[in-house]
């Protein structure tokens, strides 16, 4: 399931709902991204997340579908927030549920890696030197790349 929203979310509620009533599920892996108070060595007092409504949902749905194609997953959830957020605030939740722990863990890792490079979100940071747009990290491209070279079977 995909949700793109301004509001915060409750991790406990979301993860409980993911597995609710399904007794086949043996493992739930999740990743939560938080706003940090440092960016490129400068203090960050807030972050504004802009996105491309429509394409965001489309890309996230494609990424989710790809995860289901690669691993035996009973349920997945991606929640991504937009708007103004402060350090410590939640930005994103990725969660995967599977009968098997390896599938849940690998798919969770895959989802956040792909989301980082494929979902059309942009961050602008408020710093003492003024606002500035966050630059893309080459690390993120490298992280995505790992899942396209046919090595996902040997994760990690």
């Amino acid at each position: 399931m995909i949700r793109v929203q301004r509001e915060d979310f409750d991790i406990g509620v979301e993860l409980d709902r993911l597995a609710a009533g399904n007794r086949r599920i043996g493992g739930i892996a999740s990743f939560i991204g938080l706003v940090r108070d440092l960016g490129g060595g400068e203090r960050v007092s807030a972050l504004t997340l802009e996105h491309y409504p429509g394409m965001t949902e489309k890309k996230l749905a494609e990424i989710e579908l790809e995860a289901h194609r690669r691993w035996p997953l009973d349920a997945t959830l991606i929640i991504h927030r937009y708007g103004r957020l402060e350090p410590g605030d939640r930005i994103v939740l990725v969660a995967t549920a599977s009968p098997h722990r390896e599938a849940a863990l690998a798919a969770c890792h895959f989802l956040i890696d792909w989301l980082k490079t494929d979902a059309p979100f942009w961050k602008s940071e408020e710093t003492p030197q003024g606002d500035r747009w966050v630059e893309a990290r080459p690390d993120d491209d490298a992280a995505r790349q790992r899942w396209t070279s046919g090595r996902e079977a040997e994760d990690p």
Binding site: G54, M55, H80, A119, P120, F121, W122, K123, W133
Partner: protein, 83 residues
């Protein structure tokens, strides 16, 4: 045709969305970008580096040789930084 700009491209061009009518000789993304650069209003500077200018047509990432047609929804934006 609708063109959307995001993030610092939107800020530099000073425009989030514009309605344009492409000249008939413009058939692909590369041609469209060249034509947009010629229109002024900060576009030449904002769109100059193809390495950091990404294009989506109808909400899919596309390359420079992808066709563009009247009625397409085109979006131009820098590398994404979500997550």
């Amino acid at each position: 045709m609708k063109i959307l700009y995001f993030a610092w491209l939107r800020a530099r061009i000073g425009c989030a969305e514009e309605e344009v009518r492409l000249p008939p000789q413009v058939r692909d993304v590369a041609g469209m970008l060249d034509w947009l650069r010629s229109r002024g209003g900060g576009r030449a500077e904002a769109l100059q580096n193809p390495a950091i200018v990404h294009v989506a047509v109808n909400q899919d990432y596309v390359d420079l040789d992808h066709p563009v047609r009247e009625g397409d929804e085109v979006a131009i934006f820098p590398p994404v930084t979500g997550g």
